[in-house]
């Protein structure tokens, strides 16, 4: 049990605490330790984390194919696409074919998927964006002003529009965003402390 549960938590405490206090100790030994941990440990260990993604992808699709689940043909296509990209990359040593797969298959697919959101946001705005109360009206009015003012059309309609938008963004909107940002920052510090002290362990699988 010690090696399975307690030791990882102890290691987490030691490395976390060491990296924290290192910041306040500008001694050559402390800096050498920091250099090794950052340049070698962090980067090398992070590289191995890709195994999680690969395992999840292949096990999901291979399981679907094996069990002949509905739509398993798409899983075959997904695996074949992964192999095509990998073989294309290794066989040409990242040559033109590999670049073309990225530029003319991968890039348009992802870019188009994201561009679908333009249609859905328009439809959602039409259906759900209602001035039901004062707060919602405030949100709606600001959104409309920003939508018109942040494009050249706004400047064309009224010369002062760009300055008004800049003021909204740098004064009232920024003040609230800063409040949220400080809250998020405090939350991140608290979570980091919990990780170092072993209170937060979900990242290790919850034990």
């Amino acid at each position: 049990m010690f090696i399975r549960r307690t030791l990882p938590i102890l290691i987490a405490f030691c490395i976390g605490f060491a990296m924290l206090i290192q910041y306040f100790i500008p001694h050559p030994y402390s800096e050498r330790f920091y250099d090794i941990v950052v340049q070698q440990w962090f980067i090398t260990i992070y590289a191995f984390m890709f195994i999680f993604a690969y395992r999840s992808f292949f096990s999901h699709h291979i399981r679907k194919v094996k069990r002949r689940k509905t739509g398993y043909i798409f899983s075959i296509i997904a695996i074949a696409s992964a192999l095509l990209m990998a073989v294309g990359g290794f066989a040409t040593r990242r040559g033109d074919f590999f670049d073309s797969l990225y530029n003319y298959l991968y890039a348009p697919l992802q870019a188009t998927m994201f561009s679908l959101l333009a249609f859905f946001i328009a439809s959602a705005a039409f259906r759900a964006f209602r001035a039901r109360n004062v707060q919602a009206t405030l949100l709606l009015v600001t959104a409309v002003i920003v939508m018109i003012g942040r494009v050249p059309l706004g400047d064309y309609l009224w010369r002062g529009m760009p300055d008004l938008i800049e003021w909204i963004m740098t004064v009232p909107s920024m003040a609230a965003m800063r409040g949220i940002r400080i809250g998020v920052g405090l939350g991140a510090v608290a979570t980091a402390m919990k990780i170092i002290l072993g209170v937060e362990r979900t990242y290790m699988g919850g034990t």
Binding site: F114, A125, V151, M169
Partner: protein, 291 residues
Amino acid sequence: MKFWQRFLNLDRKWIFLGIGLVVIIPLLFPLRLPVKPSKPVIDLFNRIDTLGVDNGVVWVVTDFDPGTMPELMPMTMSVLRHCLTKGTPVVLHGGLWPAYIGMAKMAMDNIAVEFPDKKIGEDYVFLGYIPGVTAVILAIGIDIETTFGTDYYGVPYDSLPMMEGVKNYEDISIIVDISGTRSPEYWLMYGQQRYGVDVGIGCTAVSAPSYYTFLQSGQFVGMMGGLKGAAEYEELMERYGYPTGRRPATVGMDAQSFGHLLIVVLVILGNIGYFIVRRGERKVGIERRKE
């Protein structure tokens, strides 16, 4: 009231069609509405414009994937064109996640065509992907050569003439993070706060509002926000006589304007319909209760 009820239940495919048309038509028949640069973009432009050859390298990072390419690729190209035309040494770093390097490669291939007299390794350098995200930002502050080892093409770091004497952030004049993720915050925390390097950013319009707080505090040198930000940078490039390519961001501004206009009109009509229908329903309810 019936009209408005039917209008509120409009099949969303008509809205899709409307959005498609208001984007396509201005692209085919542009009005060329003028673009007025905003302060965050002017600040970033001026900062890069005033850099000399001896101020250190400009470190441009492509922290975006094809999902945000239409907004961010024009920014990347503009900053690279700006630096290369001025003769400022520029490093293109292929981002903090693996899929992003394809974007940097795309930019590099375009640069090779646009600037045939500029030599890779001497006038500009292309560094590849290294895993670790924030660890990479910290590692650049320790030693760039040990962090990357080679450039994207596998040329050893010590064989890149431009990188001679470039060891860490002290030799970098500014980081320009072109990002579709939270990476500007990482460069700020781990690059700017820890090592004191200046950071300027290009980001998607989605992220821009939350970054104004870092502009006001002086933590970011400047910012290009969304396609409009990219168009503003292109406008400044044009004004100061720099090459601008096909100006994809500026070309898209008319479509952007009319896309927004349609959504605003839909929101306003949707609200008018909502209030008319609600008032009608209340009236019907009162009459029924009376009966």
